[in-house]
Symmetry: C3
């Protein structure tokens, strides 16, 4: 049930007793801190996931990957809540402050996203603010 | 108006509706979050900029680079407010807490800086605390 | 008295006027901000130290290394307070929140640790929460 490639990022939930991990095996996994069992696997990236972070009071995850995608995930269902294909190469960096997110990539682009919280089943939706530059 | 090489770091201002980005094209750029246009370009590094961070309540930027330099910049004018040449090789890491900054480099040195806030046009000046070690 | 290889991480103490640095020379060093002299050297890793962070209100350090080890150190004595050998390869990432720590490695494992604060000479002890996965 564990990862099959190196783990690039780990992050505690700000709310629940869980940890998320991002791996070279292209998945994100969620671990229960009570018994440290894998409780979710988030699949959809086609290449190494470099970073994972909790959003929306721990109800969503953001992931960025070597495949050039930013993805948002619902914690409870492991469904992908959104895919942003702005980058044509590796997403190297992300900054998140409140309901604003910005990413930078190997393609020399930066991509801003804006979130609207609590719109659906208690979780937020994120949208491109503008065309990336 | 965008970057010409990969983006290594992005950071939201703590105050204004702007984002800074650091690129392999040796520049830092500042983007307006309202329309996501590039509003400043900070030029002076001779090699990839690895990290950028806001200082002094968002009125200054710090950048660290593969060229071995730490630079400080005035947001409003895009002028370089200071250059620290302590490192003879890549600046790999920086920690900033309040008016204290410390960097570490590929040259095995660490360099401490101390800031004095609000001394000139509302922005701070930074000085070497000691000879780097 | 300085490092002999590149410096991968620097961190200010949250309490004392000191800075810790992690180096490719396999040591962590502690520097006094008053005169920037090296006041401690923490030896025990066999390979580059990638990350260092303060714990327990600045009384302990955590280090993670290319040698696959997580180590905890007493600031005052420079003694190693614990070694965690869960990883068989480079420890790439660590997240620390309060008395919980989790690491991820090139071996595809993640390792959770739990701290108990203030149990001995004012400093905490850390334990494996579970077998790593």
């Amino acid at each position: 049930k564990g990862h099959r490639r190196g783990v690039w990022c780990v992050a505690f939930s700000p709310i629940d007793q869980v940890v998320a991990s991002a791996s070279g095996d292209a998945t994100i996994r969620l671990w229960n801190l009570k018994d440290f069992r894998a409780i979710r696997s988030f699949q959809g990236h086609s290449s190494a996931v470099l970073r994972v972070a909790f959003l929306a009071n721990g109800m969503q995850l953001m992931s960025s990957s070597v495949d050039g995608l930013l993805k948002l995930w619902h914690i409870r269902t492991a469904e992908c809540a959104g895919t942003f294909e702005e980058h044509s190469s590796k997403v190297w960096c992300v900054d998140i402050v409140g309901d604003r997110m910005v990413s930078g990539g190997a393609d020399s682009k930066i991509c801003p996203l804006s979130g609207m919280m609590g719109t659906q089943r208690g979780v937020g939706t994120w949208n491109k603010l503008y065309q990336s530059c």
